[in-house]
Symmetry: C2
Subunit: 357 residues, 2 copies
């Protein structure tokens, strides 16, 4: 059986001030009327029934998830005691689901990515379940249409002829490249964007964890064995606190060789910054992307996002991101939107500004 | 007796969004804890007693004036039925005050200018009353300290030796100059900024109005004669509606020759734009002038004004004005702050945005 696990623990700092500590990006409607996590849920439901859709997140996001996803079954909300990166989060879900369906397959999806159209995604998911029979992990590679430097890449090997869909063995993972590298990747044609979503048989993943992250695996087994006992919560908290903060990419993916990469036919974007909105929203005749009430004079190529009931006005401004969200205003040059992190660090060091984070 | 008339009818559009139609610049605290009109009142009171201080403004500003100036006597609030520029407003005050003190002297002050120190201003006012015995109008000329293009200039003639303060006859008025002209004015030394404040004997001004604006003068006499009759309000409204919309500068000043210009010893600024704040508020080490909670990363020479309880943050932004006031945000390149007018016109044409004006 296929189980879907949606990772919803992301902090989404890059969309501050719309996203905040208490309401990260995945809970925001950035591109449609629905929030990113609602879009993610709707992408798979009801094709996958609710009893096999899970969400993993920390305790502070619990109420928000239940509010935004009324279709989610309460017991399928897997609460991590604290954020310790993706390897523990995915391991926890695998242990939980493996307890009731050890022979099952699991797909791990991000809660805040753009994926469309839905039909192509579901078809690829179907193919991935098939390929997962033959490998430890199946990953989704996105054909790049530009030399992006903000994504990791998958260098693929020869196409695997045994499938009637495009599947490749993986040569290696490449971290976010320089502009020059990215251009050569694009030219080469043998590089795909790593979308960070993947499919595996639960027993295969837990086996890989036992081999490459034995500490994590041992803890997960204790947690699994304590489910439905009086010590469940205590053991979960104790073991989880000991897990190394490691990503699944670093902890597992880069250490195993039997990975299959599917070349997907859908469009994907992690929408990792305010600037990325320009790839998904229509621009006016001067290249400005606008949401909400705005008034622009002599202004070009801006991203202007304004919350309900407010007005953002620009005079003589170009290539700038301006966001008004409640009592918070961000004005950021478009080519420096990665520095929002630096801004939030600066704010975190100033107690008077803590409430704006 | 000296009577003070504070003109409070200005729209103050250039400080949108802090100033709005319902609360123009003179009612805003831009540079101190007190609003500009409160500073103006405090500059003359109690040296001039409250019974001889008047404020002229339209009916919509009445409550705001009484609220901000508790020291103002209610009957000294002169309400123009509608704004028709300065000649009718000053004429109305002159007619009203002249009815009870026809031999009196009147000083017309702006409600939204910076003037300091107070002592030097009061001394100049005293000198002006003396000089007003010998001329139709006495004006205040400010020695320029830079080639400003946003002010009108007074080209003065020889110094008048009969006074022990610096008084000059006026050669002519010069409109806002080009940058080049302004530089030559500054070098020449014979040009002073026109601060738009002046002093006159009431009968001298009404005489000049009779000669150069007979329609206005006739109407004012009817209005004066109707005071304390049952028809007072009707006649005021009827006559006022007929007055030409003319400034006192155009209607009177430029048509008479017996004007004395005092060279003042105080500092003056009309603070005509957001950028002008940099002349009055301290800047941080990167040249940013800030009010309220702000967080700046890699940003230089900005003017950032944020209302209470809010945060404005800048990343990689330079030479820009950013103002957050309630639900309104303005982001404006510093060298185009005169285009705010264009912005407000654009907004006025869009019914959905009318409420933000």
């Amino acid at each position: 059986m296929l189980h879907i696990v949606i990772l919803a623990g992301g902090k989404g700092e890059r969309f501050w001030p719309k996203s905040t500590r208490t309401k990260p990006k995945q809970f925001q409607a950035l591109l449609s009327e629905r929030t990113m996590i609602q879009e993610t849920f709707a992408r798979i439901h009801p094709d996958v029934p609710a009893e096999r859709i899970y969400v993993v997140a920390g305790p502070t996001l619990r109420d928000l998830i239940l509010e935004q996803l009324p279709g989610l079954e309460r017991e399928n909300l897997i609460v991590e005691p604290e954020g310790r990166n993706t390897a523990p989060a995915i391991g926890l879900a695998a242990a939980r689901i493996g307890r009731v369906d050890p022979g099952g397959t699991m797909a791990v999806l991000s809660s805040d990515h753009v994926v469309e159209p839905r039909g192509a995604f579901l078809a690829t998911l179907h193919d991935a379940v098939e390929a997962a029979r033959d490998a430890t992990v199946v990953i989704f590679g996105i054909p790049p249409d530009r030399p992006a430097t903000e994504f990791g890449y998958i260098e693929v090997d020869r196409r695997m002829e045994r499938y009637d869909f495009e599947a490749f063995s993986v040569r290696r993972f490449r971290e976010k490249p320089s502009q020059e590298q990215a251009r050569s990747f694009l030219e080469d044609g043998g590089f795909l964007w790593n979308s960070g979503m993947f499919v595996f048989r639960i027993e295969a993943l837990l086996g890989a964890m036992a081999a490459h992250m034995p500490g994590l695996h041992g803890g997960l087994m204790k947690i699994r064995d304590a489910v439905d006992t009086p010590d469940e919560a205590v053991i979960l908290a104790e073991e989880y606190a000991r897990f190394e903060k490691t990503s699944i990419d670093y902890g597992i993916m880069e250490k195993i060789s039997d990975i299959i990469c599917l070349k997907v036919t859908y469009a994907w974007d992690d929408v990792g910054s305010w600037g990325a909105l320009t790839r998904h929203l229509p621009a006016d005749e001067r290249g400005n992307v606008r949401q909400g009430d705005t008034a622009l004079i002599d202004s070009d190529r801006n991203v202007v996002v304004c919350d309900d009931g407010s007005l953002v006005s620009l005079v003589g401004i170009s290539d700038t991101i301006v966001v008004k969200q409640g009592e918070r205003v961000l004005v950021c040059r478009r080519d420096t939107d990665q520095s929002i992190k630096k801004l939030l660090q600066n704010m975190a060091e100033r107690p008077a500004l803590d409430r704006f984070l």
